[in-house]
Symmetry: D2
Subunit: 282 residues, 4 copies
């Protein structure tokens, strides 16, 4: 075949397996989203539509890839925990990173108009992705604690900052100067004394970020009744999506029916993890 | 800061620089596009709209990333040659793969309705990406020859196959059986004797795939007049896109104005390469 | 400086850090030791001098590198467990593998004449080395169990094989044929019924391999009295060896005085590990 | 088999192939050789015995591994160029680095007494090794130029430094101070005016380092007559060494008879390379 004398170039593709027995965490970050949020008029400090769109794309990704058991999102980033034992794409790192980044991006653009019905997308947004491997549960928990602590720090700062700008009439330069060197407590006080904002009353979504967790459906009916109305779980059923037959078979074997819950709760303390022993085995 | 005791988890992110002095080739493949093309009614064996959409996304990617100097696409895959000396994202491999895959995907979904005005996208498509490094021009040329030879082989097979099915009334199983073991010449003959199809008359786009090549604009005006009407070059100007300021400065320094030409020509023989000495230096 | 225009070649050296939080196990294997053992007249199936020389080189390696806390050897191979938290050579994998392999080899040649006083070394032996990373204690224990189970299987086979050849007068081909398909019990029986060899009476060194374990010296004097005469511990004191000042300072900080014990005991069952909680933290 | 439930630990060993089509350069460095040279009374600034021992070990390594076509040594380091097309150990990087480092170390210790008949080795020396991949001949030449330029710079400095100390009666601190900031020409002058040393008269070995190059033996007899008496070539014949049968067959297939020449010549300028077209194809 004419092709064969060129086919040697395939041998230059090197293997990149992820170390077995480690927990892969996949993280996405918006590429140049500062500009993207300006162009598309995102509300400051937090735009609920933009956050819900991120949550939606993340949820779709989890629905498509059952090996993702937990996700955490804030602002324009999202982290996903894969099962330690995952054999997705034979644990080929680049294949996983690129495919997951692609599907998330695709969902983001695809669902844009649902969350921004009056704001047409003016150019295609993009994300970068990476995978970091963690050897033990301790590190996995600390990773998610790191992201949620970051959410808290950023949100407090941004809330104070935009209050100073939007309500206090400061320029952005002045606002940064006002906040320079202030500790947490002082930011709370600025918010309260100058703007009557009690930080504790702010939407949990903004303060805690978004937690998507895959839960087993034990009693389908009973479970449905208990669940908070706002959590909109997706029942993980074999879906009419892009998954190949092989993917589907893999899913079926792995999965009892699960649903994906959206929460805005603390994941730094032990409670969240103690209630979900499955995450420990993942 | 509360964050600091968790921040150690960052140290688990390992470096993945691409070897300096090598030519990076980035390739995308559609994920489960067999199904995607069925669901969206792609014409067989080739759907011009689908190919043009791929070309469009590829062109936008090249416009966004000036270090891409050449691209080749067929069916649901596209390959991109980056300059040997590229310092894009400090040559971090995963960052490059994930970002480029993401942007291409985003463009594909964003521009879908332009090419499929009457076919709504029913679910979000995705792509996987990879980078392979080649040490020399010889291997780069052989890589592109490998892809174009593959285009030829596949297209001849598919053209014959779908003629047998669509015009010859064979089932797909029968058509595969008819073609089993046939050489190139026999497929030509089946096409001609049974369906009056002269394979040589088939659209070059289908036989040769799509070549996108970045060319320097020497004489902007004169050049514009010469260019074939169908090639629709994008003049590479500082664009209002997602690029950060730093990206843009980098581009400006690197670039004399360039345009991206779409061709459907042979890239296996020497002529294409001899006419483009810049690719040799890349 | 004349050197500077060439110095760019240094940038081609890529980083290769070991993933943090994992247990590195370094394993050495003799290169073409079948031939080496023939040329130097090693006794079959086991040559105590050769095994003691391996143990000696391994012990010296542990004395030189305090981050090695456990080692296991059989035949011409040796495995070394490094502390999970080791920062040796900044966890650069190739640096560690090459240096440890080099030092072990050097010790092997250096101490040859002590263990083979009447057999001059006729050519320089060599070893290959590798590092495998394990995320948890479970896998570390299974790794060592894997090696010790291998020792058992090989030694039983070899003991029976060489009995058949040396005492039974079979050719090596015949001996292999005699043993083909036999299970453990049958080999025991061949040994006992034909050669009056009770496999259980064979030297533990041959059956169990060599275990070198670093133990803390709590009561230096008392400890010395208890220890079995054959174990020849090396008291880990700052030594006049090849270690750089920086190495030494690192050692001093890390180390309470330790000694390295040589054992020929079971490391598959729990007892060994339960008695050494320090290995769990390593 | 008892072994099988543990054997999964093997899957944690990850592949590390070297990129095809690149030139591997393997470099060894003495570990803590400052101390080693003090303890063993190496002459300063250069000890011919020590350098000859390095050359000997390097030559033995080349004799054992025919894919090494060129080597360059200075002080306690040595670099080895492998053929671009080498398939040694399936291009597994760690296997190559560790085995070559081990064999070199072994040769160094094994041949010690030949070069230091009156100086017993007091402890086992070690080396670290690394492999760097270069995509083209340009970089390979610049690599060797980099090392030879380094030899020149170091040797001039050390020659001046030790003249100041040994003949000028300066302390080492004073000598460093005397030389601080001096350019090449000034060091030449110090040597000549104060110590009557004409740097140009110094042994080429010290000024240029050691070059070991594999040359094809075209006319075995004629060739032998031409060769300078001091170069002691090793005729590369199938040897009684550690090589496995498979290794040997590989060698035989690859090799016309070659010999390894030791030179102390310039390898920065073109002449050396133009005379050896085989190195270009390597």
């Amino acid at each position: 075949m004419a092709n064969s004398r060129f086919a040697y170039v395939r041998t230059y593709e090197l293997p990149d397996p992820m170390l077995p027995g480690t927990f892969p965490i996949f993280r996405l970050d918006g590429h140049s989203f500062h500009r993207f949020s300006d162009v598309h008029g995102f509300a400051k400090p937090n735009d609920p539509r933009a956050l819900q769109l991120m949550d939606r794309a993340a949820r779709e990704l989890m629905a498509e890839y059952p090996d993702i058991v937990l996700a955490f999102g804030e602002s324009d980033e999202y982290s996903f925990l894969l099962r330690k034992q995952t054999t997705l794409y034979n644990r080929r790192q680049t294949k996983i990173v690129s495919t997951l980044t692609s599907y998330f991006t695709s969902c983001y653009v695809f669902h844009w108009s649902t969350y921004f019905p009056d704001t047409p997308l003016t150019y295609p947004p993009s994300f970068d992705g990476r995978i970091v491997l963690y050897p033990s549960e301790r590190e996995v928990r600390d990773y998610f604690a790191w992201r949620q602590a970051d959410t808290h720090i950023n949100n407090l700062y941004n809330t104070a900052f935009w209050a100073l700008v939007q309500q206090g009439g400061e320029t952005t330069t002045q606002a940064h100067a006002t906040l320079r060197g202030t500790v947490s407590k002082e930011k709370h006080e600025i918010l309260f004394s100058r703007f009557k904002i009690n930080y504790n009353d702010i939407d949990e979504r903004f303060k805690k970020g978004s937690v998507l967790v895959r839960e087993e459906v034990k009693n389908l009916l009973g479970d449905k009744q208990q669940q908070e109305p706002q959590s909109q779980p997706i029942l993980q059923m074999p879906k009419q999506g892009t998954a190949s037959k092989r993917e589907k078979k893999r899913k079926a074997a792995v999965n009892p029916p699960t649903k994906i819950e959206l929460l805005h709760c603390d994941i730094i303390k032990d409670t969240f993890w103690e209630m979900r022993p499955l995450l420990h085995l993942s």
